[in-house]
């Protein structure tokens, strides 16, 4: 809690600092681009190391909340001894301890899921053929072949579920389907048991949350956010061009937003903030926020009269005040996430803070320089 009030107290001084700033656009303002370009270079270096969260990578994330702490390394090696290959992290929160255990995608589960998809695809045809064979023997060959395929898949599934097929006494395709589903459920619950069983013996916890993201689900999450990103990019691009109707300022605004997102992503790589649905939502919001300050700057410079250097500086003071207000909100959320260790809060606030920081550099270092340069050239031409 102390950290929270400390942060709030500190942020009250920020506006004083903004008031004391000199006009940085006097003189050779192009040099201002150096700092943001350096930051972007560093970001580009870190972007490839962004960690995929369980949403996109698939696998299992187990979260335990408990009263007493455990030793993360010890638990990890204890789990390894039980055959569970997991990464363990322990966090201290205001409400006791929170342990996150990440288990990579189980090969058995991936295989079982694949078998199930194929089985379900083939089943209708086999049922149809089975009925057809009763009255018309000419379907026999196809039936025998397809049925053998189905049996083969079932055998593999039974093997995964460690059930003995000969003891099941399967009477027909109908029965086979039922047993197959049961076997799949067994594979699934065996897997869960293999993870939670040892945990129950090793640690004492108050609550447990198990998030299993199957390969199919993670694949559809990925394709979904790609589509959403493309739409967001197209929509904001079109809107910006509609508002300014000139190439250079529009490009400057979009460059600002792009740089901002790059810096935020660099920070994700650097500070180990995983890419999850929540951090993706934060990135989208950053595009909106970053466009806020970019548009403020560009409108004041391009559409208003007066000394562009003064205008740019004025816009910067306004923009920095805006950024500080947003930093206060997301900083509050960030502290909250540290106190509670709620991943959704952490991912959103950390990405937003990184982006707000990046926005200050990208907007007032790159975007401002581009637009100032454009406005001054326009003046010379006139």
């Amino acid at each position: 809690m102390g950290a929270g009030w400390g942060f709030y107290a500190l942020s009250c001084y920020l506006p004083v600092l903004i008031l004391m700033l000199p006009n940085i656009y006097r003189g050779n303002y192009k040099l201002l681009a150096i700092a943001p370009l350096l930051i972007i270079a560093v970001s580009l270096f870190f972007i490839p190391s962004i960690k995929m969260g369980v949403d996109f990578q698939g696998g299992t994330l187990i979260t335990l909340s408990m009263k007493d702490s455990v030793d993360a390394d010890q638990l990890q090696s204890q789990l390894a001894a039980e055959g569970v290959d997991a990464t363990v992290q322990v966090f201290h929160t205001t409400m006791g301890y929170r342990t996150e255990i990440e288990v990579p995608q189980s090969k058995d589960l991936v295989k079982a899921e694949d078998l199930k998809t194929r089985f379900n695809a083939l089943l209708p045809r086999v049922s149809q053929l089975e009925v057809a064979v009763y009255s018309n023997a000419s379907y026999n060959d196809e039936y025998t072949q397809k049925k053998a395929e189905l049996d083969n898949m079932s055998d593999q599934m039974f093997a995964l579920a460690k059930t003995d097929r000969s003891r099941l006494n399967i009477s027909g395709t109908n029965d086979l389907q039922k047993r197959f589903s049961e076997a799949y459920n067994d594979v699934y619950s065996n897997y869960q048991e293999s993870v939670t069983g040892p945990l129950g013996r090793l640690v004492k916890y108050d609550s447990i949350s198990i998030q299993i993201v199957s390969p199919v689900l993670s694949a559809s999450f990925i394709s979904s956010i790609l589509i959403i990103s493309v739409w967001a990019a197209i929509l904001s691009g079109i809107l910006v061009f509609l508002f300014f109707r000139t190439i250079v300022p529009s490009m400057a605004v979009l460059t600002g937003a792009l740089c901002d997102v790059l810096i935020a992503m660099g920070a994700m790589g650097m500070f180990n903030i995983p890419l999850t649905l929540a951090s993706f939502a934060a990135l989208l919001m950053l595009v909106g926020f970053s466009l806020d300050t970019d548009i403020l700057l560009t409108t004041r410079l391009v559409k208003r009269k007066g000394d562009p250097v003064e205008n740019a500086f004025d816009a910067m003071k306004t923009g920095l005040t805006m950024s500080v207000a947003a930093v206060v909100s997301f900083g509050g959320l960030f502290i909250l996430s540290v106190l509670t260790h709620i991943p959704t809060y952490y991912e959103i606030s950390a990405v937003a803070l990184a982006g707000l920081f990046g926005d200050m550099f990208a907007t007032w270092g790159i975007n401002a320089v581009m637009v100032l340069n454009y406005v001054e050239h326009r003046k010379v031409k006139q």
Binding site: Y8, C12, L14, V16, S65, T94, K116, P124, S127, Q128, E130, V131, Y134, S135, G172, T173, N174, S181, Y184, N185, Y188, S207, I208, I210, L217, S223, S224, S229, L235, S236, L239, F243, L277, A278, A281, L284, M285, V287, G288, F289, L291, I295, L296, T299, R300, T321, M322, A325, A326, V328, S329, G332, L333, L336, T340, I342, T344, Y345, I348, S349
Partner: protein, 578 residues
């Protein structure tokens, strides 16, 4: 001016009264929609009518609306904040959007039978469903899990013999007949609907045996037919359902016919008569008496004394439905209390005794209006299909492991989240006060932000505030203040060339652009289902609250803020000795 003569203001108050009535009448979640509509209508009006006092009045009225909705309906929080249990339901295969919606509805129906209000069912991707129960009581959760995983057992009975059982039906062959298939199956008239399915060899033999020579008999289609049970009908209820051309005796006979089955008859009695009939008693110590919940206490007591376990059902399930067959026999068609869902009549073609694997159930609809008729036929087909599949679930499901969030943990999350919102508000106010050194102009920012908070909470809280939505609300406060900063900045600028009105217009041109762009970057996320076929439930709340915050800001709170600051500045200027 007398405020009653201000027509615009009176119009707003009138609209307010309508919205308020709506909120009182419809309750959550519709109240959220009503407030949203209120924001848009009041907002558009205050953009259109430029008077300052109208803008302020609009905001004040919406805040009142929001507060009364919160007071009347409360706020709904997700299980992350109130504690509870989340049970993932995995579907056997990916399904399309329509099927998924049906699935969610069916599961909702199943769970709501348990009398558990506030159970949330929502789709995750195209092959998973989350069921969230606001309880962490182990026995309740076990009960929910059992209800979810329960698969119905279908039995088709012809004249007291099992003719079809679910085990022998190939589930994947169950399908509705198309129009041309219906034409082919018309014998002496085209049926209005039909369902085809195939059974395996044993099933074919079983049916041939049971249906031999039973032309014009009904197939009683049961889903989860109870065993070891006795049915007690209330005389008045029964009488109300008997057709005009029939009587109690005939009705009871047709019910006995329908409920007979080798070794597992369900006897039927009139509950009003049991006092006199001392022969009625429980066959085993587990025999259930199926009765209406409105049965008199006296009768219930007698049944208990005679060794029955009571199964009390609502009256609606105890209402039999009768039909007359072509040979004018009265037959029981439906009685939900015993799982009898429909009783199509056997046609001559399939009662010869020869084994047959392919079946078609057809029927007519006694409605003349073509649209209603088609709707009814479609509903019949769907219900038969789901009965044959052993329940209403279109694909098999399995349950994942539950997540339990203790209530104490949830309320702690909520408390800290609210503290964060309050803390951020206070700090932002101080910070802006320091920046502009004009508290009179900046303190309204706090008031406006609080108004925004109340409206956002009332709208989102009418649905559910989950972690993502809460994060969005905190974000919306920070971003919402930004536009107010732009306004303050423009207005406090020492610029003698422009009037206050012009300064406000300049500020709004920037704000308008900002808000439109901010909304459009989040809109693809909000419509993720439309664009990518996948609803990203985990983060949709974040998109909703940021977009709502932006709309609210543009339509109501920013104009109101500008009106306040304008007024404050005008007063300051007057007081200044020039």
């Amino acid at each position: 001016m007398n405020i009653f003569e201000d027509r615009k203001l009176m119009g707003l108050v009138f609209l307010f009264a309508i919205f308020l009535t709506g909120i009182i009448y419809y309750k959550a979640p519709l109240s959220g929609v009503i407030i949203m509509a209120g924001v848009i209508i009041f907002g558009s009006l205050s953009l259109f009518w430029k008077e300052s006092h109208i803008k302020l009045a609009g905001l004040v009225l919406i805040v009142l609306l929001a507060l009364s909705s919160i007071y009347l309906n409360g706020l709904k929080f997700g299980i992350d904040f109130v504690g509870g249990t989340r049970i993932p339901v995995m579907l056997d295969q990916a399904v399309d959007q329509t099927t998924m919606n049906e699935f969610v509805q069916t599961i909702k129906g199943r769970v709501s039978v348990l009398g558990l209000s506030e159970v949330k069912v929502r789709a995750i991707g195209d092959n998973q469903i989350y069921v969230e129960v606001p309880s962490s009581d182990a026995s309740t959760i076990d009960f929910v899990e059992n209800t979810l995983s329960q698969q119905g057992v279908y039995t088709g009975v012809v004249d007291g013999k099992i003719a079809v059982s679910g085990d022998h039906i190939y589930r994947t062959t169950i399908s509705a007949l198309s129009g041309s298939q219906l034409l082919q199956n018309g014998k002496g008239g085209v049926p209005d609907w039909g369902v085809a399915f195939s059974v395996d060899r044993q099933g074919a033999e079983q049916f041939a045996d049971a249906a031999k020579g039973k032309q014009d008999y009904p197939v009683y289609m049961y889903l989860d037919r109870p065993t070891d049970a006795v049915l007690f009908m209330d005389r008045t209820t029964l009488k109300s359902t008997i057709p005009a051309d029939s009587n109690e005796k005939e009705a009871m006979r047709s019910m006995r016919n329908a409920l007979k089955l080798e070794n597992s008859d369900i006897p039927v009695y009139i509950s009003d008569d049991i006092q006199n009939d001392t022969n009625i008693s429980a066959a085993t110590n587990r025999t259930r008496a199926i009765i209406s919940e409105n049965t008199s206490a006296q009768v219930k007591e007698i049944l208990k004394q005679r060794g029955f376990t009571l199964l009390e059902l609502p009256d609606i399930k105890m209402m039999p439905e009768f039909q007359r067959t072509a040979s004018q026999v009265l037959e029981l068609n439906r009685l939900e209390a015993v799982g009898l869902l429909t009783a199509p009549i056997l046609s001559a073609g399939i009662t010869s005794g020869a084994p047959n694997s392919n079946f078609i159930i057809t029927g007519g609809v006694q409605i003349t209006d073509p649209t209603l008729k088609a709707q009814e036929a479609a509903a019949r087909v769907k219900s038969i299909e789901s009965i044959l599949k052993g329940g209403a679930l279109p694909v098999q499901i399995s349950l994942g492991s539950r997540t339990i969030i203790p209530a104490s943990l949830g309320s702690e999350f909520l408390k800290l989240s609210l503290i964060t919102i309050a803390g951020s508000l206070v700090v932002i106010a101080v910070l802006i006060g320091v920046r502009y050194r004009n508290l009179a102009a900046t303190m309204p920012i706090v008031l406006i932000s609080m108004a925004e908070l109340a409206i956002l909470l009332s709208i989102l809280g009418a649905f559910t505030i989950d972690l993502a939505a809460m994060a969005g609300i905190i974000a919306a406060i920070g971003v919402g203040v930004d536009a107010q900063i732009i306004i303050t900045d423009e207005l406090l600028k020492k610029d003698e060339h422009h009037t206050t009105r012009e300064k406000i217009d300049m500020a709004f041109s920037i704000i308008k652009t900002n808000i439109v762009v901010a909304i459009f970057t989040m809109v693809p996320l909000l419509f993720s289902r439309l664009l990518s076929g996948l609803l990203l439930v985990e983060i949709i709340g974040f998109a909703e609250s940021t977009i709502l915050g932006a709309i609210l800001g543009y339509l109501l709170t920013r104009p109101a803020y500008a009106a306040i600051v304008e007024g404050v500045l005008a007063r300051e200027q007057k007081e200044k000795p020039s």
